[in-house]
Symmetry: C2
DNA sequence: TCATACTTTCAATACTTTCTGAAAGTTATT
DNA sequence: AATAACTTTCAGAAAGTATTGAAAGTATGA
């Protein structure tokens, strides 16, 4: 396979992966493009490579910066802005986990917790509700605990403890 | 809070959570409804409780069965089909993990692996590409390893090893 | 201050997904 | 075989999301 072909494949795959996980296709593609590029790229470069409009490119670049996945870079003597991505996959995973936790998981878990605060005399329905929601909360508590630890951790924790897990 | 209100809140939260993770809102809501119901429910029941059309109810019930998250149940003397959900959160998480791995992760990882099979003489671009895709694959390998272990595991593994992780 | 080189915004449009309701299909019962 | 009780399908409506391209905005420097 040629580099050009391989790149295209990689960018496409990243786009699909993104769209099935709530990040949109273009955003995934822009990110992939920057991941595999040794140089920082400008908006123009991105537009050209991915065949997308200026508005679209701009929007998704902003969003990626917002997520903390890519960074602006200035080249001296140049007016144009360039963008570069974080290349450490470990760092990337931590950033995404932290963001999603903040944006999506936390508010929902709060909501589920509130729902548990239900009053009334015991009945089959109430008991079932309490049981299910309690289980769910315990689980969510454990899961977010792991997630937190993951977010705060360093590379070593992963390769250390997790490697033991998968052996 | 009253049970009715708490239920509504719970169902809504599950719907939102679903829609931000690639499962649609109604599907999440149907699932939530069945989770907290002590009795199996019929299509009619679900339509009424969630205010959705017959077609929509049917579609999402099928999809949930397909995912292995809910089951048909027959009541003797009744013609109508009833549905019940898996209530063990642990089991639920494992089922979802297994499904998503099969449906989404596996094909993409295959695709990314293929992209790594690139030929050509060494250049800055090629080197960068190889480096990034290698890192990514290592990471994906570890992650799917953990996922596999999780899918195959029993409750004990989680409460045992994972509890140690979060302490 | 003006021209230039860019970046950002936004209304219109295209595209995708979800939902509805009616019609068609299926199975059990008389 | 006819009816009744239910389930499934499907075409079109509605809702939601992404994309474009042009216009507006901003900074640079002659």
């Amino acid at each position: 396979m040629e580099l050009k072909e391989a790149k295209a494949k990689y960018i496409q795959a990243w786009g699909i992966l993104g769209s099935s996980w709530g990040i949109n296709k273009t955003m995934g593609q822009v990110h992939a493009l920057l991941m595999i590029s040794p140089e920082a790229l400008s908006t123009e470069d991105i537009m050209r490579e991915l065949n997308i409009s200026r508005g679209n490119a701009n929007m998704n670049i902003r969003a990626l910066i917002d997520w903390g996945l890519i960074f602006k870079e200035f080249k001296s003597g140049e007016r144009r802005e360039y963008f570069r991505s974080e290349k450490d996959v470990w760092e990337l995973a931590r950033t995404v986990a932290a963001q999603r936790k903040q944006r999506e998981l936390a508010p929902i878990i709060r909501m589920l917790n509130e729902a548990r605060n239900v009053k009334g005399e015991s009945s089959k329905e109430l008991d079932e509700f309490k049981k299910v929601t309690k289980d769910l909360n315990d689980f969510a508590g454990k899961a977010t605990g792991i997630l937190d630890r993951f977010i705060r951790s360093d590379k070593n924790w992963f390769t250390g403890i997790f490697m033991r897990l998968i052996r």
